[in-house]
Structures are given as C-alpha cells and as structure tokens.
Amino acid sequence: MGLRVGLEVHRQLDTRHKLFCECPTILSTKPPTLTLERRLRPTQSELGQVDPAALFEFNKGRAINYEADPETACLVELDEEPPHQLDPEAVDIALTISLLLHARPMDEVHVMRKVVIDGSNTTGFQRTAIISLNGKLDVDRKEIPIQQISLEEDAGRKTGENKNTVIFRLDRLGVPLIEIATGPVIKDAQEAGRVALAIGQVLRATKKVKRGLGSIRQDLNVSIEEGALIEIKGVQELDLVSKAVELEVQRQTSLLQIRDELRSRKVKPADLKEDFHELTPLVSRSESKIVQSALKLGGTVQGVKLPGFGGLLKRELMPGIRLGTEIAKRAAYWGRVAGVFHSDELPGYGIGQAEVGAVAKKLECGPSDAFVIIADYKENVLDGLKAVVERAREAIAGVPEETRTANPDGTTYYMRPRPGAARMYPETDVPPVQISSDRIRQIGDNLPRMPEDIAREIGSKYEISPKLAAQLVNSEYLDTFGEIAAIGKDIAPSFVATVLTESMRSLARDQVPVENLDDTHLKEVFRLVAEGKTAKESVLEILKWLATHPTANAASAVDQLNLGMIGRAELKGVISKVLESHRSLVQANGAKALGKMMNLVMAEVRGRADPKLVTELLRTELEPDRG
C-alpha cells in the first residue's frame, strides 16, 4: 500500500511570558473588556504575487472580531506595537528539547513569518523560528528522524463564528509552541501513535510544557501509493493519531477505487462541464426548508450534471463521510453555501420524487449519471457549482492534495487547499538571536532525565512494579505521585500509583471529568487515608464526587458521602449487634465463625472501618481466652 506518515507535534510551553511580549501564558476566564473588528486585506508580495488563499479569504468578505482583556493581552497582540525580543526562556526550553532529541541547534535563530489567513493572528501571519535540525528518536528500536524543531506563536482562540464574522480571543495568541516534525518514515497507523507518545514523553521530561486539552495538537502528513499527500490538522488527542491515520488510508483507498470505476466507465475530465441550469421553477414548491429559505431571501436553485457519477456519490470514504459529502464540503468552502444536495441522497430533505425526476430530466441525466443542486444567493451558487465540477474532475485523477481538519472521532473534513511553498518570509521586526556555544554547553550539562530512567528509579525507590512505574511516568501525575508518597509510610506507594494511573483512567472512561481534579484534591484525599479518616476503599468514590464538585475539598466529600471512619466504640457496637443476631452460629462454631462474621460485619461498615481492626476486635470477642 506504501503508507508514509510524518508527524508534526505541537505543544504549548509553560513559560512565564508569551513568545514576543511580556503577557502571561494563561487563558482568561473573564469576559473581554475590549472587542475590535478587523478585516483581512491581501497585498502583493515582494515578487508581485497575491497569495491565492489570502485573496480567497478576502473575497469571502468576512469580518474578524478580536476579544481582549488587559490581563492576557497587550498592544503586541493587537499588532499595534512591534514584537518584543524572542522570549529567552522559550528558546532555552526549545534548546533543551533539541538536545534531548540529538538535534543540531542553529548558530543563529531567525524569526520568520508564515502567512495565516483565517484571521486567528492579528498580523495575518504566524511567527515561527527554526531552533534546530536533524535530530533522532528511537522508538521500538527504530530510528525516527526528527527533521526540524521550531518555536511558534500560538494563534488566537476561536470563540464564535457566524456567516459573516469570526471571533477570536487574544489570550492564547503568542503563547509559545514547540513544533517537532518527524521525517515521513512511519509505516503504519499504530507506529504513528507510538511515535507521538514517545515525543510527548520527551517534551514532558522538561517539565516546562503545558498539560491538558488544547495544549497539544498533532498534525499528520499521510500519503499512500498512487494517493496524495494529505495534511491533517489539529488532532488533539494522542489516542486519535493512529485512528486518524487508519481512516485517512481508508479514505484514499476508497477514492482510488472510485477513480478506477470512473476510468472503467470511460469518464473523462472534459465530460464534466460548467454547464449550470436554473432549477428554481422545478423545486419552488418543495418542502425543503433550505430551498424555501434561500428562495425567500431572493436566492436561486441551480444544478449541474455529473456524467458517469451515478451511484458513486453515496460511496462511503470514512464513517459518515461519502464522496457526496466531500463534494458538498468543497462547495460549502468555495461558495459559502450550506444547501448542497446530490442525486444519491434524493429524494430526501424535503425534496420529493417528482421534483427529483423533473430535475434529472432538465439536466438530461441518464441512469449512470449524477447531479448536484445548490440553493443560495446566485453568486454563491455559481461559485459552489464550479467547486463541485472541479472536485468531480479530481475524482477521476484520484486523490486531490488537501489540508483537512480532524473531527473529535478521527474523521476529517476539507479545510482548504494545500498552501503554496512561498508563504514564509523574514520577520524583520525581530533581530536574530545568536546561540552561543556556552549556552548550549550549559543546557547540555543540565538536561532533564528521560522517562525510562525516571521509571526505573521510582520503581526501585518505591518498590512498585516496572509496569506501574512506566504507567505513572506516562501519566500526568508523576509529580503529584512524588508529593503524595512523601506524606509518609501510612500510605502504600503502589496503592497511590494504581489510583493515579488505572483508577483515573477508568474514571475518565466512565465520563467522570477527572480533569477537574487538581493536585490539592488528590493530596487531600490520600492524606485523609493516611490519617485514618477514611478508608482506602473509599478513595475512588471520593474522587468521583470531587470531580463533579471541584470547588469542594476532600474532607467535605467524606462528610457528604458519609465515608468517614467510624470510631472504635461504634465499631464494637456494630460487631456485638452482628454477633448477637447470629448467637447460635457463634456458639456452635466458636473461633471458626470468624470468617463468616467478618463478612457480615464488613458488609455493614465497608469503606468506613479498617478490615484489620475489624478482625482484631472480632478475635477478642470470639476467642476471649486469647485476650
């Protein structure tokens, strides 16, 4: 099949300041104090060219609203003040990561501008700087080349969108991101997941990267033989990397099958004509809400025939995504239209059999042909239909090169055409930074230790199994574990480690919002166990409650759930009550009744009494002579 995958891992750095100003690297939780509206206007480059993607975005005529507050943004984010110098702390972290990955740092770091046209940067570009080249990372005894390690500024955070406006919050703009790009040597989907994980471990070893959702984004470059290079943007979760690769392989393979089918049907690109027909009179009485609302706004309905495409538009490429979906997305992007229908999904959506028949007749479609109709303003309809014809022609060639966006389930949709190569140019407002050999030496002498070394060390220090130690190092809770283990010997490290790894994972699987649990919560819970105020068995229950009541503390969770330990006197009371109600059994069996009585007592006090204490008290009751 010839699968080749390259990864680009992006992760936010936990620096004091943003990359080009002195704002903090935190996200605001307060409402914005300032909103401003801007528009993107393309200009000619030094070579006299206008970036086609920039021109396209401009033609959409959209306004961009930026929201800011004084705590998380300054004039630099607004592009009212030139960038300050490249944040030295971010450069140090990037150099640390470079040395851990055996990459060669640049003598001089040059900041570049990369054209970004979705409005997420106030400048119209993203600043990026190569820090080092040609590293490597061993993953399962295979050497993965690390082509490039860069520092980038994160983009504004999208907080809303409608047809004519997109809204970005400026708190995230300028947060330093490290970008690590591997060579395209990954050969299968699972390997892609493992490489992403291994890179993540190196990053975490620095303890200077941010954690949690939104702090990590993976881009994937995927191609198969005879397919095309597809860039998938914004895979947020590590678990999704291999899934996204698998689905992309499935999509490209299906597109190649469609290509072969079109060729065997002898369909040629020239057969697909921009021959658009007015269909409004044929569907004006349809029950389709989209058609009716388009017509009410003075729009029109037009369609185009796709000769030889009969039955192909309903072919599934990925779960829930058909060739027809791909064509519709393309029309939506280029034509800003929502109302796209194709013949394989009709009758439906309020368009009836009679209308479909009339449209097919008007477009002169035979049984082996397909058609696409669009309802919107005329200008948008024409742009949309042009995009439909172009995408259909590409289906005859096979897989078009595209940049796609990942959905949370690993499927992807068309984002934009692949950008031209010439979208980088120098940032002349920021002077280059020389990287002295002294600086590199100093960083090299103080490199953090790698995860496997840490796992080995904590494994022997706390006497926990190598597997558990490795899981702990891979988890987000390694530091928390150290702090909890320091509480004292009243709490078993292997129990803490199991809770922080396996139990947290299973809670997350059960949709418990474990991300709400902070270090303080976790420490409090284990401290209560260590102090004998609640039982080990109650920890999960308490954590579950705290995750949904994050403003409360562990002690109040214990109260609320009635999981506090019962006192010795009360326990004695429970025991004598149990013994009383089974008096004959106890009298007949004496000390041999211990196991049975133990079960009965524990059923009453589970989670609220230490089993050891229960055994001890039972023994004294059942074997008074042992006393």
């Binding site: 100003c21 002195e22 004084p70 300054c74 004039l75 003040e81 030139p82 300050h84 110098q85 407002d429």
Partner: protein, 96 residues
C-alpha cells in the same frame, strides 16, 4: 536622526556620556529593531527606554546622575521601574 550625527554619538558614548531614546507618543514604546536607523543607533550604544515619556526620562536622568556616575549603573537605574514610569506591557485600553 541623520547619519551625520553618528560620529558625535559614537564620540559621546566612548566618553561615557549616557544617551537614551524615548518616544514622543504618549502611549508608544520605543522599538529600535524595526528600522535601519534604530538598529544603527543601538549598535552605537544608544539605550532605548521602552515606554518612558521624554519629560519623565529627563527628570529621572537628572536624579540618577545625582546617585551615581558609573555609566553601567546609570543605564541600569534608568531601565529599572521606580514609580511606574516604565512598564513591560502596554495595556489595552479604549485610548489605545
């Protein structure tokens, strides 16, 4: 700043005369990396004073020169915020 001034500036710097750059705008910040002249002046040893306004800079320099005559200390004190006269971040306000 025209190039014919460069020799005088170079001479002054050589003789430990402190030379600073401020902005005439009330909300602005000095950034000498953006244009060639700024970069030339930086190389000659002119010290940019971030967002301090010229009037404040003049009074502050008078005070600083009363504290020390060491050129390094003069530079350091001028860049050290004492009474909110120099800030790292230019705040977003309606006036901006």
């Amino acid at each position: 700043m025209s190039k014919y001034c460069y020799d005088s500036i170079r001479n002054a710097v050589k003789n430990d005369v402190p030379i600073f750059m401020t902005s005439q705008t009330i909300w602005g910040r000095v950034d000498m990396n953006v244009y060639v002249t700024g970069r030339d002046l930086l190389n000659l040893g002119v010290v940019p004073l971030e967002d301090m306004i010229p009037e404040t800079a003049l009074v502050k320099l008078m005070w600083v020169l009363g504290q020390t005559r060491s050129i390094d200390k003069v530079h350091g004190l001028m860049l050290q915020p004492i009474a909110g006269e120099i800030t790292e971040r230019t705040a977003i306000t309606e006036a901006a």
